[in-house]
């Protein structure tokens, strides 16, 4: 019978182009006319091959059970698909294909009795040993765990609002998509060939190893090697086996006695470290109330430490998972992203430490200089600049008509606070730097060099640590600016609100709170009088307050942006996809980003040479698309988008203008990137211990592979002798 459309689809490996001897084409038969060629075995008989494939002879000496291959490729066994260079095409199974190498082009000629047209798809095999593979959708570098909010219970403020509106937009689009779905007229049921694609991808990934196995074991099908050996050969062989035997014994002694103790010590060390880390983590993640921020949410240093600890906790698990890879077929590509992630974090930590060493040594050598520089910076920017700006504001700045009394009052107030601050913490600090007296412990002064030294020292734990510390120090040393900002914003906001309500009174209206609208209302004379006078007062006092508020708001914004810069540096140090970039340059096939087809021009197949006339064939090349750089840096884009959406939103601008408090961005949004490399829930100590134990056993298992139960076959004794001798 002829398939409904008579289309035959053949997947053919590109490395099999020159086969001039008659052979058998072996592979998977996905559906009736949809075949996937794994190998071409030369000089064997098709029926014989069929028989042996059925009985799994080929996988006898394979280190791992072929069941993985079979289940991933979606078939219980391979088939003989056809014959290459057939002697008599008439004598073969009609559903078989017949492949002839074509002299003209780089793809063979495929003919099949049933096929009216042929799709010949040339694929080149990815090398599983080199961890190459192809996949339909791009490889996920980030660890996707469902719902980051399991880790951070609740977020309040405009962030949740933004997310809400994002969600709403998403739902809106979803509705549109649903509507769009109603518009398709005929719903086609995908045929078996359509559904086969996922299987085919796996088959491509497996084809290299399978072909190796087939070619290695194809000798078994040939004439048996002769049984009896000559004496000299026996001697040589026995000597060789003797030497091997001794070596093997030594190896066994090592692996059986020495190695486990070392491993035992190592594992216990790891677990100990893990326990300490656990303690720290509990400390860092402790919240007073579920809603409250934990320590790691407030301080960048704590966050940094937490990330490191989490990584330390995660590495053993990752490593265990990677070791499992070794103990199975190389073609199983589920753990490749883990591999990349693991080494990426290792590399990053290494880089971090290297940079940190340089930085730290520099800082420690020039501790005093750095300290004085820092102190100078602090003084100039957080004290002097502020003082000068306030002084500038008290005299009418830029022709602004400020009210003298109020300006003087506010200016004196803030200046007094600044003086207090400076005297307490910075002025003393100068002479303390000159003469290291050990008194007045309440001042920051003598501590600054110590702090600097400490920071420098900490940077041996990686350059990210001092950066985090500096960021924390910045927020600690600019508390006064923050408080000024809060105070002036509060005053300004109050004034605005009062002015608004008084303006309603001025217009003879009032704001109805119940109905939330403006009602008309007639006041008494005294109300009118007091209201109007107050209105005038506040109206004339407004500019003064505004300039002070703006002053501190600008300062606050500058500090926030500084911290943003620090955070960006941190995220670069912590999560730059370094390893992935290297891979992308070194071997793009290890980072599959999808597949791509290329239609090749086929010159019209002339049946001059070919015995059988070739059906219309279209030669397509299946290629793997490497992961795009945008996909690699996707999370950075997301983070930038989040920050932009938070700080450049009209709502924030409104908050600035009306003097309401501008909420800082929730660290969770900022660090969604940070955690995208770590699992949502870290493994407990017990799990880790168990995992390590298991991992201790597995290598033994791999060293002595249990041979699969041998079927009773003529080749059986031979196999035993080989393993026995």
């Amino acid at each position: 019978m002829v398939e409904h459309d008579g289309l035959m689809r053949v997947f053919w490996p590109t490395d099999v182009v020159k086969f001039d001897r008659p052979g058998v084409v072996v592979g998977w038969r996905n559906s009736n006319l949809d075949v996937f060629v794994v190998a071409v075995l030369d000089d064997v008989d098709a029926r014989d091959v069929e028989f042996h494939i059925k009985h799994g002879t080929f996988f006898r000496s394979s280190p791992h059970t072929p069941s993985h291959a079979f289940e991933l490729c979606g078939h219980s066994s391979m088939h003989v698909l056809g014959i290459s260079n057939p002697t008599d095409p008439s004598a073969m199974n009609p559903s078989w294909l017949c492949a002839v190498p074509s002299s003209s082009r780089r793809s063979p000629r495929i003919t099949c009795a049933k096929a009216s047209s042929v799709q010949l798809i040339m694929y080149n095999r990815p090398r599983p040993k080199g961890m190459q593979y192809i996949s339909l959708d791009p490889i996920a570098l980030a660890l996707d765990y469902e719902g980051s909010d399991t880790r951070h219970p609740k977020t309040v403020g405009p962030d949740s609002a933004e997310e809400k509106q994002e969600k709403q937009a998403h739902e809106q689009r979803q509705k549109l998509v649903e509507k769009l779905k109603q518009h398709t007229i005929v719903k086609r049921v995908p045929s078996a060939r359509d559904k086969a694609l996922a299987k085919i991808v796996n088959q491509v990934n497996w084809s290299w190893e399978l072909e190796q196995t087939l070619q290695k074991n194809v000798g078994r099908l040939g004439p048996r090697p002769k049984r009896s050996l000559s004496v000299s050969q026996q001697v040589v062989e026995s000597a060789a086996t003797m030497r091997n035997y001794v070596l093997q014994q030594l190896l066994e002694i090592f692996t059986l006695y020495l190695f486990p103790t070392i491993r035992q010590i190592f594992v216990s060390l790891l677990t100990l470290h893990r326990l300490v880390a656990e303690a720290f983590l509990v400390l860092l993640e402790f919240r007073i109330k579920p809603g409250r921020p934990a320590l790691k949410d407030v301080s960048a240093t704590a966050q940094q430490i937490e990330i490191r600890l989490q990584q330390f906790c995660y590495w053993p698990m990752q490593y265990v998972k990677l070791r499992e890879r070794k103990s199975n077929w190389a073609s199983i590509n589920t753990s490749h992203p883990d591999y990349i992630r693991f080494y990426n974090s290792l590399w990053l930590v290494a880089n971090d430490v290297i940079i940190g060493l340089a930085l730290g040594s520099y800082i420690i050598d020039h501790a005093d200089f750095v300290a004085s520089a820092v102190e100078g910076l602090l003084k100039t920017y957080t004290v002097d600049a502020l003082q000068s700006s306030i002084l500038w504001l008290t005299g009418w700045p830029a022709g602004l008509k400020l009210n003298d009394e109020l300006a003087a009052f506010l200016g004196d107030l803030f200046l007094w606070v600044i003086d207090y601050w400076a005297s307490k913490y910075l002025t003393r600090l100068r002479d303390k730097l000159l003469t290291m007296a050990i008194d007045c412990v309440e001042t920051l002064g003598p501590f600054l060099p110590k702090i600097v030294w400490f920071i420098g020292f900490s940077s041996f734990a990686g350059a990210s640590m001092p950066i985090a510390m500096v960021s924390d120090m910045l927020s600690a040393l600019t508390v006064h600016i923050y408080s000024f900002y809060l105070a002036s914003a509060r005053i300004y906001h109050w004034q605005l609100v009062i002015l608004q309500s008084l303006f309603h009174l001025f217009r003879g209206k009032k704001h109805n709170v119940l109905r939330n609208r403006i009602d008309s209302c007639d006041y008494d004379l005294d109300q009118l009088l007091v209201g109007t006078i107050l209105f005038t007062l506040l109206f004339f006092l407004l500019p003064t307050v505004v300039v002070f508020y703006l002053n501190f708001a600008v300062a606050r914004m500058i500090i926030i942006s500084l911290k943003a810069v620090f955070d960006t540096m941190l995220s670069c140090l912590n999560h730059f996809p370094l390893f992935a970039l290297m891979l992308r340059l070194k071997d793009p096939r290890r980072l599959p980003g999808g597949i791509r087809f290329e239609l090749r021009d086929t010159l019209v197949a002339t049946s001059a040479t070919g015995t059988v006339t070739e059906p219309p064939t279209s030669v397509i090349y299946l290629k793997s698309v490497p992961l795009s750089f945008t996909a690699m840096f996707n999370q950075y884009f997301q983070m930038a988008h989040r920050i932009r959406k938070h700080y450049l939103s009209p709502s924030v601008l409104l908050c600035l203008l009306t003097g309401r408090f501008v909420p800082p961005i929730d660290r969770r949004n900022l660090y969604s990137l940070q955690y995208s490399m770590l699992p949502a829930k870290r493994a407990t100590v017990g799990e880790m211990w168990k995992a390590l134990k298991v991992e201790k056993k597995t290598p033994n298992a791999t060293q002595y592979p249990v041979l699969p139960k041998l079927p009773t076959l003529p080749g059986r004794r031979m196999g035993r002798t080989r393993s026995g001798l």
Partner: protein
């Protein structure tokens, strides 16, 4: 988009005639069966109309009105299927109830002048306030004297007002007592507030330049004059808030230019009396007797004139220049007369240009018993 689409409705080809339906309506009204047009369309002679030309329509109608034979005349109804085309225009009824200047009542001269005295009074009181400020600003009059005089006048006026409002035999003595106590309380509140706030006001606008202050107060006073509720009778409890507030703010701004606290205090208090209380008193005067109203008007006009005269020209020794004061009075009287008379005459003259088209298409003004809901609209 609507859920109902009448596509599935099988329309009988229109028009059809259903003879089986007969009118069951008792009265001589048009029956719903008229919704069916006659089987054929009689050829007809349409006719035109020039733009808005009702006389031409009439003429045409008279020309060939009889040339048309119809079995049923055209009706200005839409539920009837008539044997006329849609763009048929019936001269008899087209624009039938178009009316021009429906409620045009011509004004008379003297009532108009009499009504305009209210505006005159208010303007004059504003002028007097400004003059007093000028006096205080130039240190020609002690603010205390002004505020004491005005307070005295206010108290007197209050007694008079009491006398008018309370009928001689009054059953409810008690609540009147309450009112008085309330008045006293609020006045005490105002007094103390002013005392407290005037030091702050004193230096409020020092940094602002004088010109902007003058301009601001000028515009505020203009707002006061234009938004003042002149029509309000005795019943209206208080002058409209906006104008009063504008005036008060103007006085506050002006007061903030004054150097000393007493001046600020007295000017603000004076402004309250002028803008807050005096209008109420004026209303009662107008309500009470016509002569009193006229007398008050003349008094105000003269006072304003005198003040302006005294302000604009002063003797070099700083004393009072009475001659210019007299001149000012005369000029003000003349101005007042010419202004009121001229404006009224002009208004009457404008009446003949009025051309107001009214018809059924205008939104009707609902007549509602308790009008207060939509007076403030």
């Amino acid at each position: 988009m609507p859920s109902h689409t009448d596509d599935d409705e099988s329309e009988t080809p229109f028009p059809t005639l259903d003879l089986h339906v007969s009118s069951r309506l008792a009265s001589g009204l048009l029956s719903p069966d008229d919704a069916f047009p006659p089987p054929h369309r009689a050829p007809y002679a349409g006719d035109s109309a020039s733009e808005l030309g009702r006389p031409r329509l009439r003429r045409l109608h008279s020309e060939q009105g009889g040339s048309r034979r119809r079995k049923r005349s055209w009706k200005k109804l839409m539920w009837v299927k008539q044997s006329y085309p849609d763009n048929y225009t019936d001269q008899a009824t087209f624009l039938g109830d178009l009316q021009r200047n429906p409620r045009l009542k011509p004004y008379d001269f003297w009532p108009l002048v009499a009504d305009s005295t209210v505006i005159l009074q208010h303007v004059c009181s504003v002028i007097i306030f400004v003059v007093c400020f000028a006096f205080i600003f130039q240190d020609r009059v002690s603010p205390v004297s002004i505020v004491s005089w005005s307070s005295g006048a206010t108290v007197a006026g209050w007694f008079v007002w009491e006398y008018w409002t309370i009928p001689p035999f009054n059953p409810g003595e008690i609540n009147h007592l309450h009112e008085r106590l309330g008045t006293l309380k609020s006045s005490a509140l105002i007094y103390s507030t002013l005392l407290g706030l005037s030091p702050i006001l004193k230096s409020l606008t020092r940094s602002t330049s004088s010109d902007s202050i003058w301009a601001m107060s000028f515009w505020l006073l203009v707002i006061n004059i234009f938004f003042f509720d002149y029509s309000g009778g005795v019943g209206a409890k208080f002058p409209a808030s906006l104008s009063t507030n504008a005036a008060l703010m103007a006085s506050t701004v002006l007061a903030s230019r004054l150097p000393s606290t007493t001046q600020v205090f007295s000017l603000t208090l004076f402004s309250i009396e002028v803008f807050g209380l005096f209008p109420v008193f004026r209303r009662h005067v107008r309500h009470q007797s016509w002569q009193l109203n006229v007398a008050l008007t003349i008094l105000l006009v003269l006072g304003a004139g005198l003040g302006v005269g005294l302000v604009v020209r002063q003797r070099e020794d700083g004393g009072w220049n009475w001659t210019s004061g007299i001149v000012g009075m005369v000029i003000s009287v003349l101005l007042a007369g010419v202004g009121t008379g001229g404006c009224s005459w002009w208004l009457i003259g404008l009446q003949k240009y009025k051309n107001e088209i009214r018809g059924p298409w205008d939104p009707a003004r609902p007549i509602i018993m308790n009008r207060q809901r939509w007076d403030d609209r």
